[in-house]
Symmetry: C4
Subunit: 284 residues, 4 copies
């Protein structure tokens, strides 16, 4: 049974057994028929265009000049995606499971803000959620080409997650303590109006971002800031070292278990070796 | 004998032999009884809340509006931590040793600033020390889960400390010399009012922080600054390389437990060695 | 047949069989005769001087004071490069192929802007294209000394291109989503006038550039910015890890010449292998 | 013959054969006698104090208040170092060679600026050179403890110098071209007053420094800047990768030639191994 929606091999949402629902399912959820592929391409185009409409509507001169056209386009895509959402709900065997799945929620987020803003004009802030439509592209692309690289990078990050958590907790403690020190040293008169603001400044300094909206003015403050910059610079080396070593380790291991020669029991054979490099015996 | 407080295996502070002091000790310092665990959780909550009070008290609008509530909360936690500090002193066998230990000093720092500020209102600067309360969390968490990652990262930094010291001394010399050059080139009229200020600017430039509160205005100054940015960029690679190589080295060595020769008891044998490299005896 | 222009071993443009065209070709395109070397040195000098003229003409005080001298120099180099371009077209066997080649286009770009600006004064923007003359140096230097390092770095980047593409696509998605969030949170009143502007800010924050022309003013915005800075800092480790691991891999492989099995002619054997991993025959 | 001054093993400056000059030489240039060590410690103290005087004289409030004391201190150290310089010239066998050596020039630079400024008051700019006194510390410390780390890092940089040169030449070309593009796009009205200024901005952007004194104001400029920031971010990975791989390579090789077992001809033995790990035979 084909399972284009789910990432795991077991079909969780379910393709209907037959009839118009099965045909609709094949078009919407699958991409191995001509109609399915055409639907995918059209949907990618619609998503990109609708995101473009959201972006253009945020640019003041364009928004004022083409406000009517942009609103028409916005409602066109909203109704289009609403029809698509209803169709998706109709053609799966278990609509409730689809609606609660990651992409089901994203699909709903693509259309809900417009209806909410229509009935509760005060809540126009939710319109920002429409930008999440962009995430829908990932379902269609399915990233068949680059899936290996994605999972390799993801695995490397996952394997380093404990080291990174430890590292981040130490960084957070340093940033919190040094930020508080700067709040005491510089004080509200130099812009460090509260501890959260000082911590924000400490993060921007130790990550070497350095916006410059807040800067130390006192000599003590500048000395502490100099120390923080050098410290942040040195600390920056740690996550890079963790990830570098993880990726190097992965590529040298090649994700295969170590191979042992059954004749001389030597190890360290390459993944593609057919004969033992030490005794010349055949490797299993 | 259980030693939850000390990081080394030998109990330095000492659990009393019996009576109410031993029961109190089990609750406060140990965490293998139900009461001990409850005490730990309550203390973590109290610490986090008291840090939150300090942070909120630094935010002007909140401090003005809730000044009385915050002061009450602050004194509530101060008295709570005072009782806890007295209880800790009472129930250990050697209170003087506890008071001089790292966490003993941190515990005292959590309460002392409030009493100092009460009797010497002019010394309210010491209130900033209260933020050190956060460090107390580390005792309770004991970081059993992540202790291995902490020590691994710590060891890697420790093993690289000579290289990092050499690197920092070279960086400091470069920063001091180039900062002085910029002081001569740009001068006080462009904001480089003294050599310390110019060195502060040089550090913020070479670490790629670049606040922008001081910027070169003359052509010569901009040329030197461009050179410094490129140099700092290249130099940034060095600590990363040191740490990367150290972590890689550690993980390639640490994949297997250390091997000890059964004949001469020497260690440090390679994972694939069949004979002891020191005495030539067969390794098991 | 000598092929100084093309990077591949096959002569695509073609040296004429004989006569004055062959002699001209030897001077202009080849560098193994005394005249050819002299021409190369003269051309490098002319290119550097003409780039200097363009740079000087952009500096207001110099441009105002020496406007006539600079214009004369500009036309001198334009006519010089025009003669050279015509000569190059004349002496190759297939001028159309030369004109469409990479360096042919660059050569044309060096002279065309001046003629365009002469006849269409409004199009003086194209004068900026003259700076591309600098690229012509690469043809002459031919980088014989450093070609190995160039191709090594290029190969490392090329081999990592899929990982880097995956990485950049994830970064772009994060930057787009977080930029949109900041547009909603901070809004036009704090300078985030549109989604493209907010995305520009998000890129400058996550790459740790931090110009400071746009900065978050609200508490929510500063919290999100702090998160973005830490995230960008951590993410920065990924491309470094990819490139580091690639270069390390290349150098550990490249330390020895590739070993070929004399029996089955398979390659890629490890430096310490004694038997072919593919056929089991002894390696020399 | 002892050679404390020169870094190479051959004594170039020469210790006199005997008499008061040999005794003076032993005190000034050597550090294996009690007097020599005392002289070294006094000189380090004098250098640090004289650098402190230069730094303090650059801080306006201190300079105004203590101008007389600072001038006295400055002349005290100048005369002290003059006496030392004369003594050094007197006690070496070949004073001309000493005067032309690296440390000889630095020694002269420590005192000359004051005399020049005394006779030519207009040339007070040369006073900035006094900060070079700091370099003199390096001679005395001789860095016996950390010399291995210095030379290791130096060797790693030296071995990577061709790769780093190639990298910097590509970076310089990119920075020059993109800076010129920004000069055309943004123009003098947005602060990009000339190509050198635009190149300065491009360097500050691609190295992720981002001062913020110049920022793109047009939409096209911001798009190009976004691209440059991402590019600079990716490029930053390259030097780190080069240095990381070089340091890793050096530590895995351990700077010793590979050891081969004379009995079984196996390789890859650790530097401190006394017996072959494969056959147990003694290693030479």
């Amino acid at each position: 049974m084909n399972t284009p929606l789910s990432t795991d091999p077991h079909d969780r949402l379910g393709k209907p057994a037959g009839g118009w629902r099965a045909r609709l399912y094949a078009i919407i959820f699958e991409s191995d028929t001509a109609k399915g592929r055409a639907f995918d391409l059209l949907l990618i185009g619609a998503i990109l265009l609708s995101v473009l409409v959201v972006v253009l509507a945020s640019v003041q001169p364009i928004a004022l000049h083409y406000s009517e056209e942009l609103e028409w386009a916005e409602w066109f895509f909203t109704i289009l995606f609403t029809i698509e959402y209803v169709a998706r709900c109709l053609c799966v065997r278990r609509p409730a499971l689809y609606a609660r799945s990651f992409f089901g929620v994203i699909d709903l987020m693509s259309i809900l803000p417009n209806y909410v803003a229509l009935f509760f004009p005060a809540a126009h802030v939710v319109l920002g959620l429409r930008i999440l439509r962009l995430l829908r592209i990932f379902r269609i692309l399915k990233l068949t080409l680059y899936i290996q690289e994605y999972s390799m990078l993801g695995d490397a990050l996952l394997a380093s997650r404990r080291k990174i958590f430890v590292f981040l907790s130490v960084v957070f403690l340093i940033v919190f303590l040094l930020g508080s020190v700067m709040y005491v040293v510089e004080g509200p008169e130099n812009g460090y109006t509260s501890i959260p603001v000082a911590v924000y400044w400490a993060i921007s300094t130790m990550t070497t971002v350095g916006f410059g909206d807040l800067v130390p003015k006192t000599d003590t403050g500048r000395t502490i800031a100099s120390f923080m910059m050098l410290l942040g610079w040195g600390i920056l080396a740690v996550p890079t070292g963790i990830i570098s070593s993880e990726i190097s380790h992965r590529r040298s291991q090649g994700a295969t278990p170590p191979r042992i020669c059954p004749h001389c029991l030597s190890g360290g054979h390459e993944p593609d070796a057919r004969y033992c490099k030490d005794c010349g015996g055949a490797l299993s």
